[in-house]
């Protein structure tokens, strides 16, 4: 092969430029600390980098969220601990009431109870960073407020009466109570009417959406479900009356369904409701006459009460399902109704969830009604009873409305000895809320560890993926420099010499 000057020059130039490119790449790697300068240098590294970067940024966000969740939960936890102390004190006070207390003692106890109620309200209005923690979604305004009404003092939650027909002093006339109830029946908290209106709206929207896309099976299924829920709530309004608290209605539904289920066992599934009612009435009559004959026997009294509930439930069931329905069918229907209502009550939960990890979120808030209750059985009603008892009252009034809108006022006996156990029940509700919160706090605490591990892991992966190994890169740079210099030195020598130099 002939070697020509052009070849030698081109070869030299090519080798020098190769060495120069290598030097430039090694230099860029060292100075930028990045393995690759453009995505095409290594598409795999580039796309991994995108993924790792988005992971790292998400983890940083999750860590912010865990901090926020932790603050919120700690505030809630402190409030609940304080609440436990207040309610325990209230329970102790309830146990101290005897007939021998002096008027001065009673007055000081009344003051103490009033203070404790204010304390409970202020705990329930705990504010963390501008948000009221027990307010569900309504974090902007204080959820609990003590209000004075025509029928005495009561407590509102998010602007609605916790228990509209609640505990009223026996001194208030029935008519006043009825007037107050009728006037304020739109202002009760979490009523069937509200739930029913919401369900109806949802059903209308879902039906319209399904009608717009007749082929969409998912939408059709959604519409059917929404309609079912709306119908169930309408039926509940008809059964219990619109101002009944949803939670109370769920509890009543549960009792009704359990009674019917028990009746199936007692009377046999094929018995019609009419026949079962007749048998239950006979049983009740027998029990009540036995009880009347021996007023000291508490067992007989309990049996009578149970028999009465069974009889009343069955009578109501006859109205609802028709007398010829068998017990089995009625029980099944009642169970479905209860399940639907319970779902509505659950879906009404205003849970504030924070994302604390990839596809995992934690509920940070505890809702007020899960702590102090709602409807008839709430802590403030128990406190009201205690206050009445301290006044020396032996009875209190409650009002309820039936489906026709008629308000009935019931006078209940007030037994001091029951108050202690009622406080214990209220306390157990608070401790249950504490337990749930504690579980969520544990999740946040473990998420903090998981996230810090994940952060280390992904930052490490990101660095391994994108960043140079300094030692290797420095070695490469030195070697590239050497090669480049060698190429220059040799090239300069070779191209400068030819035979012409040696011709004398």
């Amino acid at each position: 092969m002939r070697i020509t000057n052009g070849m030698v020059a081109a070869n030299n130039l090519r080798n020098i430029s190769k060495a120069e490119n290598r030097l430039a790449a090694a230099n860029a790697a060292v100075s930028s600390n990045q393995k690759i300068q453009a995505a095409s240098d290594d598409p795999l590294v580039a796309t991994r980098a995108v993924t790792y970067r988005s992971y790292v940024s998400q983890i940083a966000q999750y860590q912010d969220n865990t901090d926020a969740a932790d603050g919120w939960q700690t505030a809630t936890d402190d409030a609940l601990s304080g609440l436990v102390d207040s309610v325990t004190t209230l329970g102790t006070l309830a146990g101290k009431i005897t007939d021998t207390l002096s008027a001065a003692d009673l007055t000081s106890m009344k003051t103490q109870v009033q203070t404790l109620q204010d304390e409970v309200i202020s705990y329930m209005n705990t504010n963390y960073c501008g948000s009221y923690v027990f307010g569900g979604y309504s974090t902007g305004t204080a959820p609990y407020a003590a209000v004075s009404t025509d029928v005495g003092d009561t407590v509102t939650y998010k602007g609605g009466y916790l228990s509209l027909g609640g505990v009223v002093s026996a001194d208030i006339s029935d008519d006043d109570i009825k007037t107050f109830y009728t006037a304020n029946d739109g202002d009760a908290y979490n009523t069937l009417t509200t739930a029913s209106a919401t369900a109806l709206k949802a059903s209308t929207v879902a039906t319209a959406a399904a009608a717009a896309a007749p082929t969409d099976l998912t939408l059709a299924a959604k519409a059917t479900n929404a309609k079912k829920t709306s119908d169930a709530l309408e039926a509940a309004v008809a059964t219990y009356g619109g101002t009944t608290n949803l939670t109370d209605a769920v509890a009543a539904d549960k009792t009704a369904y359990q009674t019917l289920a028990a009746a199936v066992t007692t009377y046999g599934g094929t018995t019609t409701l009419t026949d079962a009612t007749a048998i239950a009435k006979t049983a009740y009559d027998t029990a009540s006459s036995a009880s009347a004959a021996d007023t000291t026997d508490t067992t007989l009294a309990t049996t009578t009460a149970t028999a009465l509930t069974a009889y009343q439930t069955l009578t109501a069931a006859v109205t609802t399902y028709g007398g010829t329905t068998t017990l089995t069918d009625a029980a099944a229907t009642a169970k479905t109704t209860y399940a639907t209502l319970a779902d509505v009550a659950t879906n009404g939960d205003q849970k504030i969830n924070y994302n604390i990890g990839f596809s995992s979120s934690v509920t940070v808030n505890t809702e007020g009604q899960d702590v102090v209750g709602e409807g008839i059985n709430n802590l403030f009603n128990t406190i009201a009873k205690l206050q009445l008892a301290l006044n020396g009252d032996t009875s209190y009034k409650t009002a309820a409305v039936d489906s026709s809108g008629t308000v009935t006022v019931t006078t209940n006996s007030l037994d001091v000895s029951d108050l202690k156990s009622e406080f214990a029940t209220d306390l157990s509700k608070i401790t249950a809320a504490q337990a749930t919160l504690g579980g969520n706090m544990d999740r946040v605490a473990s998420a903090v560890n998981t996230l810090s591990d994940a952060s280390t892991l992904y930052k490490g992966l990101m660095t391994d993926n994108e960043n140079i190994d300094t030692a290797a890169a420095a070695t490469e740079l030195t070697s590239a420099e050497y090669t480049y210099e060698a190429a220059l030195a040799v090239g300069a020598k070779v191209t400068s010499k030819s035979l012409i130099d040696y011709i004398a």
Binding site: A10, Q34, A38, S40, P43, V50, Y137, I352
Partner: protein, 504 residues
């Protein structure tokens, strides 16, 4: 019996041949750096005796029959073929490196960064839903994301029209080269007919063909009369002294991806020009028009980016169902103080309002087919009133962030299309571009190595070697000196002879 002056005539021939040799060597040495120059060699033969009646046969010296260029047409053909292929790879890889920069590298992937920022800001909004400054930041982050996507698409379109200008320029160059070759064909045939040397003209012509082969794949045939006939994909470009001209015209076919770009046709026949399958022109066209997965060019990447923008906007606006979970979109959410489901679409195009967006097509798919990477924007409703940024799943409650939580999931870890999350979708585009760019660069390196090798072989055959020419120089110098001393010897002989005559 030889003629009296035979010696002198042989000597003059020898001097002449040596002089031609020296001149050729000097010419070669002078052209040692001339591009396209082929070294020339002297072909000389010994001249036989003029007389056939003499038994004492003495040759009559030397004669230079021709000065030829050393050239291998076979190597030329190989070079032209390989040069077309590597020029195509070079054009493709250069264009794709520009395209790749649009999508960014590891550290500058703007779209991913903006998406991460937007998502983080949404998470911040989740813990302070009513904060107008946070809402304003969410809006500006969303606008930045849209702008970045818009810019990427616009830049790609600009690059496409730049490449279209390159196509026009290239066609102009092809015409110019074809005309030059035709002219040189004519000059060479005229010169060779008159017996003149055509070496320099042929070198010039070879150089033009080299340049032409870089632009378009050519098939070159050497005719018996020395003309080069050049064809592109079977159609004659140059034949003898005639060059067929090409012209560009603007394609106006709304259904074609080439709409608005330049088409190429033969000026005379008006038929479309088949560019064959190699050459820079082909590389440009491939990047300019490639719209399918088999032939990826700018239109393909634009449509990928359009799909990305469209899928993301649709998922964010309408929600997605991934597996068995349905995530609600912005249309299902409620902003601040809005008493109904807002139905606000967060993203739209050309800043249309949500209602105008939904009116822009007959069904959902038709509506979203209007959104492209070039026009995606935040909807007018959100721009006018950031309170409409949907956070809650239903009315009421500052801290109801069910909808926002779903939106954040849609931006992070939910598969919004097949098995891809948002960043996954974008990652696929980055990977595709980077992969195509990397393989184009590799292909260019590979083909360029072959081209360089063939060019080195050509240089080895045709290039000037200064060592060789120095050797020739000394050889011819020695020959000249020898002939010159022969001349002085003969001169002495003739003097003797003449003196013999004079002394008579």
């Amino acid at each position: 019996m030889a003629s009296t002056f035979l010696g002198l005539s042989i000597t003059s021939r020898g001097l002449n041949a040596a002089q031609i040799g020296l001149a050729t060597t000097t010419n070669n040495m002078s052209n040692i750096d001339t591009t396209g120059y082929s070294r020339q060699v002297v072909t000389q033969t010994s001249v036989g005796p003029a007389a056939v009646y003499s038994s004492s046969l003495v040759g009559e010296g030397v004669e230079v029959t021709s000065v030829d260029r050393v050239r291998s047409f076979r190597l030329d053909q190989k070079y032209w073929q390989q040069n077309s292929a590597s020029s195509q790879a070079e054009a493709t890889s250069t264009c794709l490196q520009q395209v790749e920069n649009v999508f960014g590298s590891t550290t500058t992937s703007n779209i991913t960064t903006d998406l991460n920022t937007f998502t983080s800001e949404l998470s911040t909004l989740a813990s302070s839903t009513t904060d107008t400054s946070v809402r304003a930041t969410v809006l500006s982050d969303a606008q930045t994301l849209c702008d970045t996507i818009n810019t990427a698409s616009t830049t790609l379109t600009t690059q496409r029209s730049d490449i279209d200008s390159d196509v026009k320029t290239t066609v102009g160059q092809i015409n110019s080269y074809a005309t030059q070759i035709a002219t040189l064909n004519k000059q060479i045939s005229v010169a060779s007919a008159s017996g003149a040397s055509t070496n320099e003209l042929e070198d010039q012509r070879g150089l033009v063909v080299d340049d032409l082969s870089g632009l378009v794949g050519i098939n070159v045939i050497q005719e018996n009369n020395g003309d080069l006939t050049i064809a592109v994909a079977g159609a004659t470009l140059v034949s003898g002294d005639k060059a067929n001209e090409l012209e560009c015209y603007t394609i106006t076919d709304a259904t074609s991806t080439q709409n608005g770009m330049s088409g190429i046709r033969w000026t005379d026949s008006g038929k479309d020009f088949d560019t064959g399958d190699s050459g820079a022109l082909n590389g440009y066209l491939q990047v300019r028009d490639g719209s399918t997965a088999d032939s990826k060019g700018i239109p393909y990447y634009i449509s990928q980016l359009d799909d990305f923008a469209r899928t993301f906007a649709k998922a964010f606006n309408e929600g997605v169902t991934s597996g068995s979970t349905t995530y609600s979109g912005s249309a299902d959410g409620v902003g601040i103080d809005d008493d109904a489901t807002t139905g606000t679409r967060f993203f739209s195009y050309d800043n249309l309002s949500s209602a105008d967006l939904m009116a822009s097509g007959t069904d959902i798919d038709a509506v979203y087919s209007n959104i492209t990477a070039a026009n995606i924007s935040v909807s007018k409703d959100i721009i006018d009133d950031t309170d409409k940024i949907p956070t809650a799943s239903s009315t009421g409650g500052d801290s109801n962030v069910k909808n926002l939580t779903d939106l954040i999931s849609i931006c992070t870890d939910v598969n919004i299309s097949g098995n891809s999350t948002v960043s996954g979708l974008y990652n696929v585009i980055v990977a595709t571009v980077a992969g195509a760019s990397a393989s184009a660069q590799t292909e260019y390196d590979r083909k360029n190595t072959s081209t360089t090798y063939i060019n080195t072989s050509r240089s080895s055959v045709s290039g000037v070697s200064s060592n060789e020419e120095t050797t020739n120089l000394t050889t011819y110098q020695a020959a000249y000196a020898a002939s010159a001393s022969m001349a002085s010897t003969w001169s002495e002989i003739y003097s003797t002879t003449i003196n013999m005559v004079n002394t008579d």
